[in-house]
Subunit: 367 residues, 4 copies
Amino acid sequence: MPGNSFGEIFRITTFGESHGAAIGVVIDGCPAGLKIEKKYLQQELDRRKPGQSKITTQRKESDEVEILSGIFEDTTLGTPISLLIKNADQRSSDYEHLKNVYRPSHADFTYQEKYGTRDYRGGGRASARETAARVAAGAIAKKLLEKIARVKVQAFVSSVAHLTLEKDYTAFKLSDAEKNIIRCPDPLLAEKMIKFIDRIRKEGDTVGGTVSCVIQNCPAGLGEPVFDKLHADLAKAMLSINATKGFEYGSGFSGVKLRGSQHNDLFEKKGRKIITKSNHSGGIQGGISNGMDIYFKVAFKPVATIMQQQDSVTSEGKKTALKGKGRHDPCVLPRAVPIVEAMAALILADHLLRNNSIKLSAFMNRK
Amino acid sequence: MPGNSFGEIFRITTFGESHGAAIGVVIDGCPAGLKIEKKYLQQELDRRKPGQSKITTQRKESDEVEILSGIFEDTTLGTPISLLIKNADQRSSDYEHLKNVYRPSHADFTYQEKYGTRDYRGGGRASARETAARVAAGAIAKKLLEKIARVKVQAFVSSVAHLTLEKDYTAFKLSDAEKNIIRCPDPLLAEKMIKFIDRIRKEGDTVGGTVSCVIQNCPAGLGEPVFDKLHADLAKAMLSINATKGFEYGSGFSGVKLRGSQHNDLFEKKGRKIITKSNHSGGIQGGISNGMDIYFKVAFKPVATIMQQQDSVTSEGKKTALKGKGRHDPCVLPRAVPIVEAMAALILADHLLRNNSIKLSAFMNRK
Amino acid sequence: MPGNSFGEIFRITTFGESHGAAIGVVIDGCPAGLKIEKKYLQQELDRRKPGQSKITTQRKESDEVEILSGIFEDTTLGTPISLLIKNADQRSSDYEHLKNVYRPSHADFTYQEKYGTRDYRGGGRASARETAARVAAGAIAKKLLEKIARVKVQAFVSSVAHLTLEKDYTAFKLSDAEKNIIRCPDPLLAEKMIKFIDRIRKEGDTVGGTVSCVIQNCPAGLGEPVFDKLHADLAKAMLSINATKGFEYGSGFSGVKLRGSQHNDLFEKKGRKIITKSNHSGGIQGGISNGMDIYFKVAFKPVATIMQQQDSVTSEGKKTALKGKGRHDPCVLPRAVPIVEAMAALILADHLLRNNSIKLSAFMNRK
Amino acid sequence: MPGNSFGEIFRITTFGESHGAAIGVVIDGCPAGLKIEKKYLQQELDRRKPGQSKITTQRKESDEVEILSGIFEDTTLGTPISLLIKNADQRSSDYEHLKNVYRPSHADFTYQEKYGTRDYRGGGRASARETAARVAAGAIAKKLLEKIARVKVQAFVSSVAHLTLEKDYTAFKLSDAEKNIIRCPDPLLAEKMIKFIDRIRKEGDTVGGTVSCVIQNCPAGLGEPVFDKLHADLAKAMLSINATKGFEYGSGFSGVKLRGSQHNDLFEKKGRKIITKSNHSGGIQGGISNGMDIYFKVAFKPVATIMQQQDSVTSEGKKTALKGKGRHDPCVLPRAVPIVEAMAALILADHLLRNNSIKLSAFMNRK
């Protein structure tokens, strides 16, 4: 019930403040018998880690993952998998100046209001550092999806500020996104985005953008009607990521301008499968996957920590001013890509396991 | 765990197929001692019911609510509140022609894939009829919010197809939305919207649009960090409503084009309260309410049932064509307004109760 | 989270006060495709209903079940099944004298303390009337167990006060229990029990006893290690029934007097199965079923409502005296038998569905 | 949903196999502002650790606790508290002989059946080692109970095999239990128990017994009606502990032999409080605490690992024999005492937080 767990059957619980001893995650509900190597988990974490390029924060953190339980001889046991990432040594003195100040558009004020106390050394649980735990857990979910159903989850940067991928995702080879540091599948646009972010960074400012995600080979039938619709759970998953402001899937906000006669996806038979001619539904109808590609887009605001002086107040309400110190991201987007993938994989793995129980015939076929 | 329950402490479970005996809701976790009159519940339901104006479906259903439990002498007992709405008599023969056909952009196909069976007499659980149960439950949540914290939830239609409310919500008296049948607070725009929908209806087509919602007087501290962020839970709540395609809060998708220096909300002291000068955050920072207005927008696609002939396939995959019969909504927006309010109220009531447990000082002050 | 729901995947929510309009249950998570006839549900309810013999309360209630949703053409849809049992007309005036009095060993006082209010017309949610809803839901769970795995759940009365079934359950034909009104499989002992209860009833007093239950054909592997051990969940299920005081399974409380060398169940191979020679484990090892018979015993205290005058206090703490009116059970045991079966079936059905998700190989075998 | 989490609001998740890298626990939902020193946690763990006396296993493990998150400057933050206990180095070779053998009355067979794989180096999650994580979490729950409501939880050994504490708990000073190594509050009986266990140990055999527990100062109103009755949740908590066979509270199994007129607890006013003259109810009526002492008893079977040769089968079903190696407990009871306390404290803390939300008046009094 408290907010640090996610998922119903494939269920994760993350823990750890950004400037405490460690962050980590417990994954409960992963089926037994799945091959998981530590090396693979580390590769996924490396896609998120700071310091990976000139347009991310220059902080160097190794983010080395330790497997504490649930995996024996490189195979899941069906018991809780616990993964730990130790924090680099933190000098608390670096943060004394933030003890009584509320940073604009951070969670300092709201944490203080909610709890009456907070770990003032940094963002604590509100820090994006917590998402490393999600990426580690998501890596296991991805492996499960691949193993059970060959489901593939691929995210990429679809806009940075005004620089927007104009064409549909089908126009690109999505895996190309991993070939440049902004993770955009269009190499020319990627170049422009990188230059733009670099310019903004030099101004001590930050920018936002969008990450899109495509899920391929998702079997029909995932998602629960009514409240736990597949797209509703994806929306929650995405908006639980730091700095997000919006979510749309399929035709999204622009779909509201179409007529029903334009928007409806007509069924047809193709080989032995029933498919839809168009896919405004984004692969989900009535909250349940229909076997077509699932695609969605997530809005990220510009990073709140800027290298310019800003007005603020102390916890007593006195006027003060503060300026970001240290090495922060001018733009979260490239590092957000693996996080979006991880959250999508977690939702799908959970719904795949949930879907098991509802169709008697499927049950009866099992020994 | 199955998908028909919603909320953690203030928890609802809805039931009922659109063409079965009845639909209803059980509300578990509502505090004892709240005054609830049946008349009040009926008023809220009447805002959602069909046949209320020329731009909604002309079906006449009384949607009369019965209180089965949990309320004694017009006061909640703290025990589960069960509310029932009987369905009008259905002639199954009216639906025989749909038994083996998949209506485009409906959930017929996905239900059949998921369950291997379905109630072919109509949308079943995928029908928007299910939302009447949510509106009834939401009415109780609203009352609770009002009683405990004077929180006010107000939704309105902010666009119909291309017809968009250009100004900020602060430019309008939101309660004016209830004065016209499209539920838009701008009377001139409302007039245009109504005419437009009427035209589309005559063409046998349908349109989409957006509903916006504003929450006032929300205390700071609601929302749980990490996964159950207040805006993440609002997103899920909204996208669990039929026909939705997207959600954004605060600066939303347009916020991604701003710089950090433009987007940050600077704190200042006003009287005894700490507020923010701007409100791009939409009243939520780090997933926790900060005491400012919460506002968000929800995208609704055009209704899938149109009065024009469309191609489709049967459950065996044979080509067929079908055309909507009966009396359907050309546009769901005016009837969606109370549903958006209900879902927002349910999320807030739940988070209000959840927030109780986490701050020891608050606890200690109680006898 | 509030306490009126039970189960994780096969999940029920009950509602209704004993003297309100109706009681009922919503079952969410039952697989689609299960045959359920109303007649069958009614038969199970009739085993619990009042007035069935001279040793139960003489109140006549028809307890007629209505199916509101989730079942179409006598087959489950996979959507929530809602069952309703209307209460017979209650004359509130009959209960005015209880408005301000706390009946000894009832829940009047604790409800008032917890909620600050209560439905004084009777036990409200604390009334055993609520268990009718459980029996209805349990009937569906039983059908599911039978269909998927031929699991059989059989309860019976194993003692009334000092009159105890001395032999092991294997010495009896358990279905014989349904042949007498006390539901004890030993016809001679049953006769003595019935006479004894009849005598106590005439004295205006009540008696307690035990109900035992045997589960046959349970597949190995049900139950989750650590907290949701199968016997831990059975214990909770049983102690959630009104008037219960204790639970033991396998060797139970008497097993504590044995040595390890006496208590251990040695494995052996029988045909193609691995079984245990003895069964002190009661079919559960490490919280997980091992394929042997599961058996357990539940203690029920004597009914609190007696036809003798007792001292008590009013809600203001003034001395008063009260005496039971109306027609109450001198002994709950025969009517408790179907309730014990229902709760056992609900736990098993839930664990059967939960067990689906944890073994990858099982998963891979499915299409 | 998977079985490694416990509690609704004060919620713990444990992880770790007995012979893996570490075991640990994440506590989510503990209120902010509670003082917790590492030293205190270690003291509670030391009450459970092996090697503490001649009647427990002679294995030496330091069981040193590390705080990874959720506590800053010795004060809870309201964020998840993560505690880690590293396992001493394990030589896997010691366990090779168990790889394909099912130990009698252990969970080897059932784990293999459930998961299709297991960590054969030891009991894995079924090992009592997992309970160290519970004791650490329970220590925090105890502190919370003490701080908010001065609730006191005290367990003790009430029988070893046939050696039984004959008098009621009120006849003893319960804290005396900590003065001897068997943890029985009667020093003479304790002496006999210790001698008896020592004799059995020399025979290479093991014994069972019972642990009783008393909860004082519990406020009235804790526990939820219907399924989450306080005693039902206590029963589940206790039976989730390794080696347990039964649970009874208040008059328990012996109460079934009384008449209603003997068993009923009559109310009376004492000072400003309403109390009961007797306490057969064990402090709980209708599933809700009534302010009197809560007391219950838990049955523990004899330890399954004995130092005598026993028949068994291999995973292929071949006959084999095996004999316990190493240093095992001849009797779990003294080490079970802090585990029983921990589980009771976890249930009470959870219900204390849950009870917050249901009474509107309590709500309104808060700022």
